[in-house]
Amino acid sequence: MTADTFPKLLDRNARERGPRPAIREKYLGIWQTFSWSETRAEVETIAHGLAASGVQRGDRIAIVGDNRPNLYWSMVAAQALGAIPVPVYQDSGASELAYVLQHAEVSFAVSEDQEQIDKLLEVQETTPGLKTFVYCDPRGMREYEQDFIHSLDEIKQAGKKHKAANAGFYDAEVARGRGSDIATFLYTSGTTGNPKGVVLTYDNLISMSEMSVELEHIRDDEETLAYLPMAWVGDCLFSIGQCYVAGFCANCPESQETFLTDLKEIGPTYFFAPPRIFENILTSVNVRMQDSGRTKQRLFRYFMGHAKKVGVKILQKEKVGLGDRFKYWLGEFFVYGPLKNTLGMSRVRRVYTAGEAIGPDIFDFYRSIGLNMKQLYGQTEASVFVTLQPDNEVYADTVGKACPGVELRVDPDSREVLYRSEGVFKEYYKNEEETRKTKTEDGWVHTGDAGFIDHNGHLKIIDRAKDVGVLNNGSMFAPKYLENKLKFFPFIQEAVTFGAGRDHSAAMISIDMDAVGNWAERNNVSYASYRELAAKPEVYEEIRRNIEQVNADLAEDSELSGAQIARFALLHKELDADDGELTRTRKVRRKFINERYDAVIDALYGSQSKVHCEVETTFEDGRKGVSAADIAIMDAKLAGGAPLAKAG
């Protein structure tokens, strides 16, 4: 029997590497470890329990909560019964949750704790099919007397009884599973409209997992940190797919606050994080170094300079002189090694990043200190992998070559990237129209991203295909491309650019409170709040310099030089997912922002130097209020002389 489903892979692992660790959770102060055989036993018990509670083949089971072994087990247990687990973002609001649960016709929900149960109860009325709730953590659940709420322990108890009465049930159910069966629904929070439920089969996930495990030589002694949302395809592929295929160990952190400590303790050998996290870490490195003693700073600068020179070359096994090698070795002892250690990356063999473009400085920083960081390009619809940078062919501005078994092409007209592979999703659940739009008859998937394949055969992504526009001067306008360039500056947290159908490009920027605040303190710029800081002329001046540098970069590119940023404004508040300005994965919601900040946008294309802006906002404690301020508009110098050259 080939192991073509996760429950079957679990059986295989329990057989072949029974005592080896499968999953760990930092709980009650230590890393509680569960071996593959224990994991299998747990999954079996839960599966029996679910069956005893009436879960049928094809039922949908929502999984709500942080990364916890119990939730992963519940997922696989559901799969063992032929039910379909639907992981849901644990921080999604009630309306989002309600939509997903309704759309997926969920009848059963496994949640982490009271908080999630409360949310589920809230949406229960509008979700008629939702019948049974299960919680893992009994804290605060004593007073819930509803008979449809059970603890996972009760389920497990029931499971044990059910098992005693139905020997062989589990094995039979597992055997019924086929690779072509549906493994899960993953809802993608699109930038517009309602989330779409991507239907992935075992074949999709397992083929991509096997491909990547082989390609990247992933072994069964890897340690990873399972900290990204379970509802995200990446976690599904890394913490279940690759984990089950390769047989390595996933580690669940204790809580969100202790993430960094947990990262350091585990010291993963294999680490994935979106660019944002690497960016934050680098920022904190720089901030902490500034408080360091002089000698240490000098040492740091000296060796980081050296790393910049030869680090990447050494990583890529290129030829480097003996002296430089020795110096790099010294640097490894004094700076890089300790640095990696404090960041929890001493043992890392592979680091991946994806999801957004990463700043070249950030990228080079990590690579130069000897971390094999690579970019990949993927989608939920592709079961993650589309392209990946092969070892020694790593560039900051590309996302790598097509993975084995993935076909790739770029539509010459729309510049849209398309791919085809075994990982391609089955369909969008109950949304044939979208399915047809995205997936062609012969299996090609529209990514919606514009890009091109460069002379190395690497894919380069510019922007969302639909967002790429044209300025009135005929120049191509790729907002995300500009925004990413802006966001690579430490002071800029988020940027939104405008320009399609306009005379020039303009930018709306929200500053990075930590970085700018730190800078302000050192430069005696006093401020009391984000709003005040963002309005400081000194800050404007710093940002203007950043923008002018972007303009200079753009001037070098013939197609984009017309898209230089002529005017900008600093927003009085951070762009926030709670206000709907960003998606949960921190992507800009353009349409929403256009409406919300129309006054500012008008001012950017008008002549005034100040505009009053008032927006509704959600405070940390959940209250809503109005955030208002006068926002200054500033001009930036254009480089290369002729932004309107093509207009004539």
Binding site: G29, E265, V285, S292, S346
Partner: protein
């Protein structure tokens, strides 16, 4: 800088509660033990064999430096338990060490008492009569000495229930002065010799001569075997290491937590159910036990013969207190650091000042060196209290923290 902690995680409480949280620290300790047990004895032996070092220098190193260092470490461990962990100041350490020394003496000579009777001629005849068989095993003697000192310590610790802080410090002075008085006035303690001096009898351990000398026939000739300095050193080292391990175990477990609770806030400690008297007395008992072992060690291995009132005078108490303060209150490592500091500084000064004087042609008397020593001690204590009240151990810890966070400051 040297720390690579990433990936050091624990999957069970037993491991998580180990003495060392970090692998590097554990290796560091094994390294130090390796040096102390193997590298030093073998290295010195080879140096002497190779003619690179005079045999007398080697013996000086062992007998005058290493042994003293170990004895002081042991005493500092003891006082640190009482003062550093349980928060009870004691100025009677030397007195307790003396009890240990005299107990060891009495047990090793069979607990003699004097039987006086008139002989046939009507003259008064004195005769020493042993009450117990003499014990010649130094390890057993040290344990017995510790046990006796424990009892004495508990008696003098009794007032700690009612009195605290300085008052208690003064009360422990009572122990110091009373005990020292006993050492020169209670004849039974020193077997009634007029000089009130006690002398260690010959002892053997595992067939090795430890004290005194032994004459054996070898190849038909009488050969006198003197104890090897290495033997004494290794016995003391093993003893100190063992008791340091015991001390560490106590302070990291429930006993230590009870002591520290009493130290940090005795009222709150009572309200969580800690019995103050029992806890403090236990600290006195354990601390005195350690001091007693230190005293026995001082007597058996380091001095061989001593006069109680002189060897255990109040300055000795202060010296141990200084070790604890400079080393670091509430730290096992600190006890060793402090002992090393206070032991080595005078040795250094004794060599350094005459040398310095010689350079300028100024004769430096021993008395002057001693004065300078006292002044430096006094000044150092004050400087430490001002700069780093938690002592060398704290500096060590800060340094370690720096290395762990390197290249970051925090």
């Amino acid at each position: 800088m040297f720390y690579r902690e990433a990936g050091q995680f624990y999957t069970s409480y037993a491991k998580d509660q180990g003495i060392f949280q970090l692998r590097q620290d554990k290796y560091g300790l094994w390294g130090i033990l390796f040096i102390a047990f193997i590298v030093i004895p073998v290295g010195l032996y080879l140096l002497v064999q190779g003619g690179l070092m005079a045999a007398s220098t080697k013996d000086y190193l062992y007998n005058s430096i290493f042994l003293l260092l170990l004895v002081n470490s042991m005493a500092a461990l003891g006082l640190n338990i009482l003062t550093g962990y349980c928060g009870q100041i004691s100025l009677g350490t030397a007195g307790f060490m003396g009890v240990g020394a005299f107990a060891a003496y009495k047990f090793s000579t069979g607990m003699n008492y004097r039987n006086q009777h008139e002989d046939d001629a009507g003259e008064l005849v004195s005769q020493l009569v042993p009450m117990l068989p003499p014990i010649d095993n130094p390890l057993i003697l040290m344990i017995l000495a510790g046990a006796v000192t424990s009892v004495v310590g508990v008696i003098f610790g009794l007032p700690s229930l009612r009195i605290k802080g300085f008052y208690l410090a003064v009360a422990t002075l009572a122990a110091q002065f009373f005990l020292v008085w006993c050492f020169s006035r209670v004849e039974w303690l020193y077997d009634y010799v007029s000089s009130s001096t006690i002398q260690v009898p010959p002892m053997k351990l595992f067939g090795l001569v430890v004290t005194g000398s032994e004459t054996v026939m070898r190849d038909g000739q009488q050969v006198t075997i003197y104890p090897a300095a290495e033997t004494k050193y290794l016995i003391c080292l093993a003893t100190v290491v063992f008791f340091a391990f015991v001390a560490k175990n106590m302070v990291r477990g429930r006993i230590g937590r009870a002591w520290m609770a009493i130290r940090d806030m005795d009222i709150a400690a009572q309200l969580i159910g800690i019995r103050p008297l029992a806890t403090k007395l236990l600290a006195f008992a354990v601390s005195s036990f350690f001091c007693g072992v230190a005293g026995a060690m001082l007597f058996i291995f380091y001095l061989g013969a001593l006069e109680g009132a002189e060897a255990f005078n109040i300055n000795e108490s202060f010296a141990v207190l200084f070790m604890v303060i400079i080393g670091g209150l509430g730290s096992i490592t600190g006890a060793f650091l402090g002992a090393a500091f206070i032991t080595l500084i005078p040795i250094f000064l004794v060599i350094f000042f005459p040398w310095l004087g010689g350079q300028f042609g100024i004769p430096v008397s021993t008395a002057l060196v001693e004065h300078i020593q006292f002044m430096i001690f006094g000044a150092l204590i004050i400087i430490f209290l001002i700069m780093e009240p938690l002592g060398l151990a704290r500096l060590w810890q800060i340094g370690k923290e720096r290395l762990r966070q390197w290249p970051f400051p925090y």
